[in-house]
Symmetry: C2
Subunit: 214 residues, 2 copies
Amino acid sequence: MSVVRTHMSVTLDGYVAGPNQSLDKPFGDGAEHLNDWMFALRTAREMFGEEGGETGASDDVFRERLQNIGSVVMGRNMFGGGPGPWGAEQWKGWWGDNPPYHVPVFVLTHYARAPQPMEGGTTFYFVTDGIESAMRQAKAAAGDRDVVVGGGANVIQQALRAGLVEELELHLVPMLLGDGERLLDKLGDTAPSFEPIRAVVGTGVTHLKYRVRK
Amino acid sequence: MSVVRTHMSVTLDGYVAGPNQSLDKPFGDGAEHLNDWMFALRTAREMFGEEGGETGASDDVFRERLQNIGSVVMGRNMFGGGPGPWGAEQWKGWWGDNPPYHVPVFVLTHYARAPQPMEGGTTFYFVTDGIESAMRQAKAAAGDRDVVVGGGANVIQQALRAGLVEELELHLVPMLLGDGERLLDKLGDTAPSFEPIRAVVGTGVTHLKYRVRK
């Protein structure tokens, strides 16, 4: 069954990035280690062609997260490439010639551009008419598999406001930032309800899964 | 073994109270239901002389939380009684003649006052020389049992900054407030480190326990 899901590493005080984010420093000040728990895992190391890494509860959660993905939706900043209108039309994302997605990826942007096929099954499609359109296209592309809203926070907030997310997983990292960008913010009266369905303690991270309803 | 521990209900966006807190509305706007998960439990209902209530994971966590307590430290607002030099010297807290503590309770305040013995073993002591003194007195009173920093957020922050908390339990309630008082805030460079040691999913709440180190 197809589920629309999203996930993000969040500090214990609710931040997904520190202050002063930029293209050079996408996680802002102080948040450089927010995803260290992930890069330490065997499954993540395998994705980058490296050996070793941690097995156990967090690796199980992360491996599950990678399964059954049919398409991905992401924001302009997560795709990267400098400010608009595609100063570098040849920009193909941060991930090299063979991105780790291997499925259609819908990039929400204000600047139209032809689809960008990559090696390994990833194609970047550029959607200029909003989150609902991007999600509709991603669902069609995913078929029976899941749609992942990959981030950043702004796109996840758009999808939450539109009532289009069914499952949220927070990887709660016990560090404090005190300032920066928050995930569960700017939702106003359109905030959905969250029902906790799973909590797993890993090494230096807790994985919290919620069912999300309009 | 004696442990210094604290616990608090926290919204998914990190608030322990809404905006506009007052003596009449100690949880501020919008947070009236923050502790509903607790009042629904069999163990909580028993404390108030009521029958019935929910059993299961959350009730187990809450019952454990109540065990082995030797003393409590709380702030002036949690004890209540109005502003100033004890306009009402006879104020004896929110809890009636027989408060649900049954141990020495150390109230951090700027206004000296004689100890207030209550029915059922609770005595309120008023500490005017700061968090370290309150914690020292509470530890001495607790002996081999635990010291609980009961709240509010301000007192917990003082204890965290002073490196005096060993265990933190967050009862993470999946509601959003968007504004209000945050628990893990105002810690600055004195923030301790948190190691996740347990996560339990209850009904409409997730219980997260952390070991805290200076």
